[in-house]
Amino acid sequence: MKLNRRSFLGTATLATAALSAPALMGQTRPRVVVIGGGSGGGTAARYIAKDSDGAVDVTLIEPSRRYYTCYFSNLYLGGFWEYDALGHDYGNIARTGVNVVHDWAVGVDRDAQTVALASGERVPYDRLVVAPGIDFVEGSVPGWDVSQQSLMPHAYKSGTQVQLLKHQIETMREGGLFVMVAPPNPYRCPPGPGERVSMVAHMLAQSNPSAKILVVDPKETYSKQALFEEGWERHYPGMVTRIGPDFGGENVEVRPEEMEVVIDGMVEKADVVNVIPAQKAGKIAELAGLTNDAGWAPVKPGDMRSTMDENIFVLGDASHQGAMPKSGFSANSQAKVVANVIRGELTGSRIFPARYSNTCWSLIATDDGVKVGATYEPGAEQIESVTSFISQTGEDADLRRQTYEESIGWYNGIVADIFG
């Protein structure tokens, strides 16, 4: 749907907006480049283009022609969602006026204000949005690196890796062992590993009920823990075992060729191993010199502007911003704040105070959905939580079903917001 603000804005406001455009709006249109076409970058590109009605030249750089969402990829694993329904292309983003370039961004020259593409081309910008998502920390799980991902998939960036993991689980021997090596904080999608365990258990309970699941986790506690544990006990009794740091869960090594997992010196033979390594900002953030020692890109809480460069904003999972979880919902929320600020700086449109929010739904079993969420605002140093809520243990089945249906409504809502 196309929104034409002129049709309902008074002429006085329109005149103000046009006359107050700052110097940047000289002979050429101001240029915004967005690196990464996921929930953060896709939203930012689309909103800047849509709301500026052509006054800003927006380029989106994204290597994939079809984007597969991480959210709901666990539901695909569990058989609740079609693989094709995870995929979205860039046609509608392009139709809002975004110049979509399918290429890799391989460098940023911050002095010249250009982005280098793998093709050799350089794309100039007045404002740059960096939204590359995550990369894995090399060596965080000894024995594993990306070259082993076909033997031990991470399946943590959606797409074919999730298909591979699903295939491995489906063809696992009867009574086999599925091991998940869970990541340390901070990582993408805090309830993601717990939801994945739930979906794998759901799948195995039907096709391979004597199979077992072992979670090796370096964290003391994890998101929605009470809800997941209650759900596993109810739906998949005796199937899931978790080894936390008190029993050596932080001391794990894998041997992909042998399909072995070594936990605190004890060798465990496994049939399927899902390694979710420690994470950091997507590589381009580091190449652009935007990351801290921990590998994340620190930003100012009021507008997600990089603390390293006034003309660059970092969105979503790659950013280090404070209390917001690394989620597609958060990235989408942050993108709208950034779009409003960038458009204001480049065209003189009104800049409104930042407000952020997030809700994460998870599915535990058929019609058993739970959620956690919060609203956020900028604090002095970082983004802070204002109010929060979480589903309760012991909720009745109708409410859980409604929460699940709501999550489907949300999925359709957010992908329509970004790609629709």
Partner: protein, 239 residues
């Protein structure tokens, strides 16, 4: 509703001392309420001995019952949803529903324009209450338990929304509620009458309406921002 609460329950008090709460405070005139019921409700709802579901469910023991909780009546999905979220028919919510059904439960099938006169609503509720358990001598029981007063003054309802600000604020809504108005799992919010939108958001803000995500979103919206959103989503519906 606000006037009703002030007139019949307590004047401006947010915390009711036990002594006062324990008194049986008259809601309204049940005899006059019988006539209001006959004119306004009886064509669809039965009440009293042998009452059955008709177009609407029977209304015996409505007080403190969960919304949409008769298993043998087919409710709208909207009412069932509110019931699952925890809506119970206490005095405050019944009053709000009778005043403007759609404002409390958007999408209810009850095609009733609402009863704006607070005195007549009070009489009606007093009448209906005779067919429910009457716990007026148990101060903590739900029908006489009172939360904070919802105070939507005429000034709040008259605020003219800043559409451009509403457009910005709306981006928080559209992560879930689709701009196209499509709704499945999450209700549509495009093209609502502004007043319904404002009342609904204040109802979430005051936690009168259940639903944690909406309560949390509404919590930090001030009167101007709610008006801005109402104006924007109405305009969007006219596009």
């Amino acid at each position: 509703m606000r006037a009703f609460l002030q007139r019949f329950l307590f004047i401006g008090a947010l915390v009711v001392p036990m002594e006062l709460a324990a008194q049986a405070i008259p809601i309204g005139d049940a005899v006059a309420g019988a006539e209001v019921y006959r004119r306004e409700c009886a064509s669809c709802h039965q009440i009293g001995e042998d009452a059955q579901h008709r177009i609407g469910p029977h209304l015996n023991r409505i007080f403190d019952r969960g919304a949409g909780s008769h298993d043998d009546f087919r409710y709208s999905e909207a009412l069932l949803r509110q019931g699952r979220d925890g809506l119970r028919w206490d005095l405050r919510r019944l009053d709000a529903y009778i005043e403007n059904p759609r404002a409390l439960v958007s999408g209810t099938r009850m095609s009733y324009r609402g009863l704006s006169d607070p005195a007549r609503r009070a009489d009606l509720i007093a009448y209906m209450r005779a067919y429910s358990d009457q716990p007026q001598n148990i101060p903590e029981a739900a029908p006489t338990a009172r939360g904070r007063e919802v105070n939507l003054s005429a000034e709040i309802l008259a605020i003219e929304g800043d559409i451009e600000y509403g457009e910005y604020l709306s981006s928080e809504c559209t992560t879930c509620h689709q701009r196209s108005g499509d709704h499945a799992g999450i209700p549509g919010i495009v093209g609502w009458p502004e007043e319904d939108f404002v009342v609904a958001m204040h109802a979430y803000k005051q936690k009168l309406r259940p639903h944690e995500v909406m309560q949390s979103v509404a919590q930090r919206l001030d009167d101007e921002e709610i008006a801005a959103l109402a104006a924007y989503f109405l305009a969007l519906g006219r596009e």
